[in-house]
């Protein structure tokens, strides 16, 4: 079936069996490989994308439900090859180690900051509770998001 949606600001039409996962459509059809598969069961959050302003696991979304959706993936964060403040904060604060959870974390963080400009550390923790990281202990991820929230409001 043909499905039209907006991805990172551009309108795309794809042709796919309806129950195919949005994750696979992004990675295989659109070659947007920034969004990752870590578990296929909605536990690790590595496949997180923003759909209509909400952070969602793309491994659990059948593409037939994305008609007319506005989707943002990690590739849509940076503007004109410049890192966005969230990405820059991660770089400076050591928020990424192996990097596999990072796209999902950035997406979850972006969704949070779009909703709550100056979250508390507890709010940040809760916002990324669906994004598993095995490398960092979460400390510097929370630091990075906090840092980014302060930059944005300056």
């Amino acid at each position: 079936m043909k499905i039209e949606f907006q991805i990172n600001g551009a309108t795309r039409v794809i042709d796919s069996p309806p129950m195919r996962r949005l994750l696979d459509v992004l990675r295989e059809d659109l070659r947007l490989t920034g969004t990752k598969e870590g578990c296929g069961e909605g536990e690790c959050g590595a496949c997180s994308v923003i759909i209509n302003g909400e952070v969602i696991n793309s491994c659990l979304v059948p593409v037939c439900q994305t008609t007319g959706a506005i989707i943002t993936t990690v590739e849509g964060l940076a503007k004109d090859a410049r890192l966005d403040p969230l990405q820059q904060a991660f770089l400076e604060a050591g928020g990424a180690q192996c990097g596999i959870c990072t796209p999902g974390m950035l997406i979850a963080a972006r969704a949070l900051l779009d909703l709550t400009a100056q979250p508390t550390r507890d709010e940040i923790k809760e916002a990324i509770a669906g994004n598993l990281c095995r490398c960092t202990g979460y400390v510097k991820i929370i630091d990075a998001i906090e840092r980014a929230s302060l930059i944005r409001t300056r």
Partner: protein, 288 residues
């Protein structure tokens, strides 16, 4: 699966009923349960009824004595709803413990009900609140008590041509209180080992009545009717709390599985109820 399933995505409830009346098929809403099964190759259906676009199933409305929550209401919508916050706060508490934000944004109340897991986090709240389900089909709409909905492990009374349309939750009154506690395997993204919701009316330290819904301790969500009777009309003392703890531990029927043991579930279910009761008599009300 080798074949690609066919999907029907109606825009209206009538359309959805019509499709279901022709042929039984798996109904998919937010996908947070079904897609996990599909990804694990444990569900191999040829057809799906995708109800995600049926807007009639959305919305949370004030109906006077109760609030009406559409089957497609997501956990996030319930968390943010001023109506649910005020009139069924335990449902907000429960919704916040479901998975994590990604799941809360897509998982639905209807899905939680129809998925029929004994560990469903919203189910004890609906049980304690004596919620009512609106069930619809081409044949019309019927109301049924939530506490009559499950017949056995993962089995409901839903006919193959029916959909759960909405849930009516009687409002929490000013002189009533509620409570929710989920004991999970970790602090987020957790399946419960025991999960309890309570609705009660107290006058000073007399418990006029109490409704206790518990999940993960039986093949379906249950009400602890015996313990409720034991407590009805009684003054809360540490003695009564101990009796209640014993009573409910014996009343529930948990198993040992890969997440926890029968002994733990019995014991902790009792302790959680005791915590609620302590909260009524403790000066700080926190039950600690």
């Amino acid at each position: 699966m080798m074949h690609t399933p066919k999907v029907y995505s109606p825009r209206s409830l009538d359309e959805a009923y019509e499709i279901l009346s022709r042929r039984a098929m798996k109904v998919i809403a937010g996908g947070t349960d079904l897609m996990v099964l599909i990804n694990a190759r444990q569900l191999d259906a040829e057809e799906f009824l995708d109800i995600w676009r049926v807007d009639e199933l959305r919305g949370i409305a004030d109906e006077g004595d109760s609030i009406r929550i559409g089957a497609l209401a997501t956990y996030t919508e319930m968390i943010r709803s001023p109506l649910v916050q005020e009139f069924a706060p335990a449902l907000v508490a429960a919704s916040r413990t479901v998975g994590a934000i990604q799941i809360q944004n897509r998982g639905t109340l209807g899905g939680n009900i129809v998925n029929a897991s004994p560990a469903g986090d919203s189910l004890p709240v609906l049980a304690a609140y004596d919620a009512e389900l609106e069930i619809g089909s081409l044949r019309g709409l019927r109301l049924m008590s939530f506490n009559q909905f499950y017949t056995a492990y993962r089995r409901t009374v839903l006919e193959s041509d029916e959909l759960v349309v909405a849930v009516r939750v009687p409002k929490l009154k000013a002189d009533e209180r509620d409570f929710f506690c989920k004991v999970g395997t970790r602090r987020a993204q957790a399946i419960s080992k025991t999960v309890m919701a309570v609705k009660a009316k107290t006058e000073n330290e007399i418990l006029e009545w109490i409704r206790v819904g518990v999940g993960s301790v039986a093949p379906t969500v249950v009400r602890a009717y015996k313990t409720e009777s034991l407590l009805a009309g009684r003054a809360i003392t540490s003695d009564l709390i101990e009796q209640a703890r014993q009573s409910i531990s014996l009343e529930v029927n948990p198993i040992t599985d890969l997440r926890s043991t029968e002994h733990y579930r019995r014991r902790v279910t009792g302790n959680v109820l005791a915590r609620f009761l302590r909260g009524i008599i403790d000066s700080d009300g926190a039950g600690t």
